[in-house]
Symmetry: C2
Subunit: 423 residues, 2 copies
């Protein structure tokens, strides 16, 4: 074994041991740690900023873009989000040991499903140092041990934040190895980590497609993936067109850089001429670049709106900016076909007054979130009332869609008898 493999194995073995202690922690102990961590972050801010400055300096040296440097910075806003996040997670109900369902068998056996921690969770993420605290807090509250592996560009910040979390643990006599970070920039370390399926229960990569793909390719451990959101709004022939206009505008413009923003608008041809000119004019006025099919162009012509031709590639693209592809479709079936063919099974909306159309869309669109008469932007753990989320899973197994605290546990069967044997 090389040194890197050995030290990764050592760290994972510590995490496994800590996970046995983690599942015994009381809710009060866990909440105390989270609240203390928030306080320590506030108290240690000058020190944390010094470490952050080392990363920023190195980042400038490596020629990181200003957007990248921005994401790397522990700004007042980022710090407030972290400390509020910690307090919010402390306020969430503890999912561990909750019985979600119980029943009795004819032979008197009582069967119950009990939520228990997953065990050891590895989080592999890119540049934002606040993920260190957000992810550690959620995993910890769910009784897990966590191995954090942040981007090398946030090395000093991540190390310092992990240290604060561990100190908060120690102050409440909690084994600090429930949260550890892989403190090496050696890329081999991640590869070694991904082979340790006897010590790590799940890997959650948080970052771009290439990061996730690399993890999927190399991992022997189950991975929960958070891929792109190519989200659609379909304006049905029976839509309330004023409502459709509001939803379309909101889904595209309110925050275009996130995965639940709309990337493609589909409009039933029966309402194309009445709906599209006004809706596209409003989007164009907000700075949205419109990439449209031929039928859309005809519907919107003569309005002085700049329209570009859409390409096959556009339908498959998550823009994450003020660009929208638009198609007119002959019917609901074609809209569903388009979404199933080009979408990413993330979040899709129908605007309609038709009960039948709404029901078909809900059942046949195979996306993690399917909405009727509401903006795609609601596909979010907070908006759904789940509390803080670890991300929006594009997987189908275990967690699908906004993934909160109750997706960081699993369920075991707990059976109570009085001497039953099988005959």
């Amino acid at each position: 074994m090389t040194d890197v493999r050995e030290s990764v194995h050592h760290l994972a073995a510590h995490a496994r041991a800590a996970s046995r202690l983690g599942r015994r922690l009381s809710t009060t102990q866990k909440n105390d740690v989270l609240l203390t961590c928030a306080r320590l972050i506030e108290e240690r801010l000058p020190d944390l900023r010094k470490e952050n400055a080392l990363d920023l300096e190195a980042g400038r040296g490596h020629g990181l873009s200003s957007a990248m440097l921005d994401r790397l910075t522990l700004s007042d806003k980022t710090v407030r989000a972290m400390t509020e996040g910690l307090r919010e997670v402390a306020a969430l109900p503890d999912p561990v040991y909750e019985i979600t369902h119980a029943w009795r068998r004819p032979n008197g056996l009582e069967i119950a499903r009990m939520q228990v921690p997953l065990g050891v969770i590895a989080i592999i993420y890119e540049s934002r140092p606040n993920v260190t605290i957000d992810a550690a807090a959620l995993c910890f509250k769910a009784g897990n041990a966590t191995i954090l592996r942040g981007g090398s560009e946030a090395f000093y910040s991540n190390r310092a934040l992990t240290q604060v979390f561990r100190e908060a643990c120690s102050l409440h006599s909690v084994e600090p190895d429930v949260v550890q970070s892989l403190e090496t920039t050696d890329r081999e370390a991640v590869g070694a980590l991904l082979k340790l399926d006897s010590l790590i229960d799940v890997v959650i990569p948080r970052g771009g497609r290439s990061l996730i793909e690399r993890v999927v390719e190399e991992s022997r451990i189950p991975v929960i993936k958070h891929y792109d959101g190519i989200c659609h709004v379909y304006v049905d022939r029976d839509a309330d067109l004023d409502m459709a206009d509001e939803i379309v505008f909101n889904a595209k413009v309110q925050r275009p850089g996130v995965c639940n923003a709309m990337e493609t608008l589909l409009v039933h041809e029966a309402v194309a001429d009445s709906f599209l000119p006004g809706a596209l004019k409003r989007l164009a006025a907000a700075g949205v670049e419109l990439r449209v099919d031929e039928r859309t162009r005809r519907a919107a012509q003569g309005q002085g709106i700049e329209l570009k031709p859409v390409t096959e590639e556009d339908w498959r693209t998550e823009y994450l900016e003020l660009i929208l592809s638009v198609a007119v479709v002959p019917d609901l079936e074609a809209a569903i076909d388009h979404i199933e063919t080009y979408g990413s099974h993330h979040t899709d909306t129908i605007v309609t007054r038709s009960w039948e159309a709404a029901r078909r869309f809900q059942m046949e669109v195979d996306s993690s979130t399917v909405l009727v008469n509401a903006s795609t932007r609601f596909s979010d753990g907070q908006q759904f009332g789940l509390g803080a989320e670890i991300g929006i899973s594009t997987d189908k197994l275990h967690a699908r869609g906004p993934m909160g605290l109750t997706d960081l546990v699993c369920k075991k069967f707990v059976v109570s008898g009085n001497g039953q044997i099988r005959t």
Copy 2:
């Protein structure tokens, strides 16, 4: 692309297309197909037996053991189990489109969790041809398309059984590609299949450890694993010793060749001398080979029971036959330690009258099924009242423990609004 890769891709693309039709099937349609399939198996039995004879002949030619040939044979008992299985799955409630939980947000949005099919499921299994029907029936009832890949030694039997299922589909105007089998013995085919993560949603290997490990190693698709059961019974100091004797005997002897049979007995030292001589004598009389630690030998000496020394390797071994390893432990903590160190997190039992010991054992033993005062043999979908099972998952994600129909679906969020937008 080689021919094999191309044909595997073609088949998976057909499965993906069929899965869109599969999720629209009504419960009645699905049940009709299952019942017709049972009838066809009965009617076509002579033909099926001819195909089975080809496999058996080839098997004898390849020198398969009599146990292997036995598993390969479509005996009356196997056939009855298949047809009864089909009728039983038809009688189970349809999990598709069930709303498991719904709530309302302050802004009026209604959020619901709806069960929907996973999509395309690949089942990779070894010699028993009845798995073809059992697995296809469960996956089909849950609205999925299934790709079956059986062992090459059951090639003709599997092909014929798949054909019967597809014919039952056609008779009820259901797209037969909801069930397909990979009809090649080329090993490259499985490798190609395991890369198709855009077409296949989950892989379930059913077979020995080496098969599962190969699938995990090669797959880009999520895998649900069914590994060994190294199951323990722990007889606590506060156990009812008569009850313990019955449970221990049942867990080891009633059906030793299955994954939920006990492999290791742990006994609290306070009851070792009173419990072990009688319990071990009874086990030995039933033909159980006893591999014991030094403290157990002392407790059982002078009883004329044959005892062998246990090795470190024994604690990690799933015997699947009439062999038992036995240890005396100083306390509950040591019993839990032993189970966590050597067990396979499958099924473990405590026998005790102590409320506190039972609770600690239930919470701290990290196994998919944890029992108090009942035989490990109850860890089973039928026994739990879940109906037919696809296996007993040793994974933590998605499905843990006995895995029935409701683990072959996933949950999406279905959101109903009246024009809500985010501000």
